[in-house]
């Protein structure tokens, strides 16, 4: 919500409550500012500054006043908070008339907040029910912006006996929460120390997901959205451990199904194994003789099929599917390079932003 919108809502919703002290002097909240009315403010502040006679507090106890600036407007002293008025906060404005007299104090509540739950988990990728034992990342899509800092409490994985996997046996890497800018997609990383061959954790505990075992991903309803309101429902997904995926994706094995000229049929690319869903959204593009072709991407068959529907009907001719070689499968392998390579068998340099092109024709 923009600051302006918040301020407007605050101005409408803020309700002044019990005033005490001098009847003739009062405090109002107007357009995001706190104003002392019916008191003629001098042009110059008192020796100790305006804050010595008028301050607004958020919260209780011995805390500093709200940060802000003062102006004198039409003879009235006005306090402009540096930060927008927030829902759920109790504000206390205190004016101490210089030269004596009872202080004037007024309390305000921040804008009303709708506490109706509406957030839910929409999708989780990979979508398949059998996941490789070296699965590197899991993506959780929410229907509304969520609050940061709760993932470690709200996402659990249960083993086949319903027991929460924890401690060194926990599947996910603790620490950083990786969100998209709208806080609607969370990226969870499986503990790479257990995925990567040769590391102590991998040798001692094994990979996070064991082949043949059953698991349940559990996301708690108590996860609060960006407003601080819990979700409508929790989420559960059962899956089984499959074999590790250690071979880099090989575009030679991809099957391209060309659309017919003059139609809006999708171009279809079938992969022999599921691919990383977010990377499928942007690492495959279509180019024709006249440059890039615009269209919409959809992904199906548990991320093993990519479909591209053009905005305008296909014209007959030669096209290319342009593939960013950084595209990954579920094990973090990308084209020409597995997730972990045996350095004594081969030395491969990182391929930086390289692409390859797969030709296809539209007839």
């Amino acid at each position: 919500m923009s600051k302006l919108r918040l301020a407007v809502i605050a101005a409408i919703l803020l309700v002044g409550m019990a005033a005490t002290g001098q009847a003739s002097v009062s405090i109002r909240f107007e357009d995001g500012t706190f104003k002392v009315v019916d008191w003629s403010a001098p042009a110059a502040p008192p020796a100790k500054g305006w804050a010595s006679i008028f301050a607004v507090y958020a919260g209780v106890g011995d805390v500093p006043p709200l940060a802000g600036t003062y102006t004198v407007e039409g003879g009235s002293l006005v306090f402009h908070p540096n930060y927008p008025i927030a829902p759920g906060v109790h504000y206390r404005a205190v004016f101490q008339p210089p030269g004596g007299g009872s202080p004037v104090e007024k309390t305000f509540d921040g804008p009303h907040q709708d506490k109706t739950p509406f957030a839910r988990v929409e999708r989780v990728y990979p979508s398949a029910n059998v996941l490789p034992s070296n699965l590197l990342r899991l993506y959780v899509y929410f229907s509304a912006p969520m609050g940061r800092g709760q993932a470690s409490q709200r996402i659990h994985v249960l083993d086949e006996n319903g027991k929460v996997l924890q401690g060194a046996h926990g599947l996910f890497l603790p620490g950083e929460e990786l969100w998209d800018p709208n806080y609607q997609r969370l990226t969870m990383t499986f503990d790479p120390g257990r995925i990567k061959r040769g590391l102590t954790s991998n040798q001692n505990i094994g990979p996070p997901i064991a082949e043949g075992k059953s698991y349940t991903l559990v996301i708690d309803r108590d996860w609060e959205d960006a407003r601080g309101v819990p979700m409508v429902d929790g989420f559960r997904k059962s899956f089984r451990g499959g074999p590790a995926e250690r071979n880099p994706p090989d575009p030679k094995q991809w099957q391209i199904t060309s659309p017919k000229a003059g139609t809006l049929e999708p171009l279809m690319v079938d992969f022999p194994k599921p691919m990383n869903y977010p990377l499928l959204q942007r690492m495959l593009t279509v180019s024709g003789v006249q440059g890039g072709v615009t269209g919409t991407v959809s992904v199906d068959h548990h991320e093993a099929q990519w479909r591209f529907t053009p905005h305008a009907p296909w014209r007959a001719g030669n096209y290319e599917l342009v593939v960013d070689t950084a595209i990954e499968d579920l094990g973090g392998n990308h084209i020409g390079q597995p997730f972990d390579i045996d350095t004594f068998e081969r030395v491969t340099r990182h391929i930086t932003a390289n692409t390859i092109s797969l030709p296809f024709g539209v007839r």
Partner: protein, 383 residues
């Protein structure tokens, strides 16, 4: 999980640079302050902090995928040794910005090496509309929120897409800056993508020139000398061993590695050495290398394994491995500091003291989340 007290895994690292900028070759002008301009600081989020010369504070802005340098104007040396003790620091920051303490997330903490004042970066709010805060706490415990409305600053983008591009907001791809340090005229930045498994460690000369000027060093990380991964660096510190400058880097796949800075040249093959493996289900958060009573130590705070004190004498003697046979076994023993509990952030104050931010972790013992208040800020003697 067994406790690892003596591990001798050696690491081979090779660096292939996409762009050609040497880390140690940048020249510093007499006053980098001259390169900053006054105005509104374009900060969208405030993450990792690092101090450069002359009280210049670098702020990692993950939301904008940028690094912002801000002149703190804080260049007066303290009259006496700083001893900070602020109880309920979260409440003292939340109140002036008008939110409940549970809507304040403290992201990073560093000490200004000139003034010894403590700087914190924080988020006002937990959602996408959270506002960035830079907070200064002086030795007397006075809390000041730095005004970002008009300050001398400079910024550099870490990506090709300008932050002002409206379409950028629709792009779900983000780069989370995990750590940042100023080393020899360069800001070295470690980051994690939310989509690709990327290992980019960027070296950006300061004063900033252009986004494209930053070198991207692709660091390869291996353990046991056999399997390599492009693993992202989670946290790192500059470190001098026998007069040579290193960075001590902790990877997301847990090992702690020393990398000679002089070797971080484009195209060079670098031999790094793993000095400890801190175990599964854990990430190192902050590190302080220091010397005490004639010995070298590294103090490490962790996401779920408390604060460790590594005995780091003779790190220069740790050999790099160059064959698949695991022969060069050596290791760094460590003690867990049981009297340092609930440490959220740890940073060095001076040669013999550190500052810690403590608070009860939320969540579960094995999966701690951000703390709940009250949070306390205090000076401790390095153990």
């Amino acid at each position: 999980m067994r406790r690892i007290t003596s591990i001798g895994i050696v690491v081979a690292l090779c660096v292939a640079a996409a762009l050609a900028v040497g880390i140690t070759s940048a020249r510093e002008p007499a006053s980098p302050l001259a390169n900053l301009t006054s105005g509104k600081v374009p900060l969208m989020s405030a993450g990792p902090l690092a101090f450069g010369p002359d009280g210049i504070l670098f702020v990692g802005d993950s939301a904008a995928a940028a690094i912002v340098a801000i002149d703190t104007g804080d260049r007066r040396a303290p009259s006496s040794a700083a001893k900070i003790n602020v109880q309920g620091i979260d409440e003292k920051i939340a109140a002036p910005v008008g939110v409940p303490p549970d809507q304040l997330l403290i992201n990073s903490m560093k000490v200004n090496p000139i003034s010894k004042n403590v700087y914190l970066s924080a988020s006002r709010g937990r959602g996408p509309d959270a506002m960035p805060l830079i907070v200064r706490v002086d030795a007397a415990g006075k809390v000041s929120i730095l005004s970002l409305e008009n300050a001398k600053h400079a910024s550099v983008s870490l990506v090709d897409v300008p932050a002002s591009n409206p379409a950028a907001r629709q792009d779900p791809r983000t780069l989370t800056i995990t750590d940042m340090n100023y080393v020899g005229g360069n800001v070295i930045v470690a980051g994690l993508s939310n989509e690709e498994w990327s290992s980019a460690l960027r070296s950006i000369p300061f004063p900033f020139k252009d986004a494209a000027e930053g070198a991207t060093l692709q660091i390869w990380h291996s353990s046991h000398g056999r399997f390599e991964t492009e693993s992202p660096v989670r946290t790192f510190v500059p470190y001098t061993i026998s007069g040579q400058q290193y960075i001590l880097a902790a990877y997301t796949c847990t090992p702690l590695v020393k990398i000679p800075v002089s070797d971080l040249q484009p195209g060079a093959k670098v031999k790094g050495v793993e000095i400890a493996d801190l175990g599964a289900g854990n990430q190192p958060l902050d590190m302080i290398p220091y010397a005490k009573d004639g010995h070298d130590y590294i103090l490490i705070s962790n996401s779920s394994r408390g604060v460790m004190k590594l005995k780091a004498d003779h790190l220069e003697a740790y050999p790099a491995i160059d064959s698949p046979t695991k022969t060069n076994v050596a290791g760094v023993p460590y003690d867990t500091m049981t009297d340092l509990q609930n440490v959220q952030h740890l940073t060095q104050l001076d040669d013999s003291n550190a500052v810690i931010l403590t608070g009860k972790f939320t969540g579960l013992a094995w999966a701690p989340g951000p703390p709940v208040g009250p949070l306390n800020l205090q000076t401790i003697a390095l153990p």
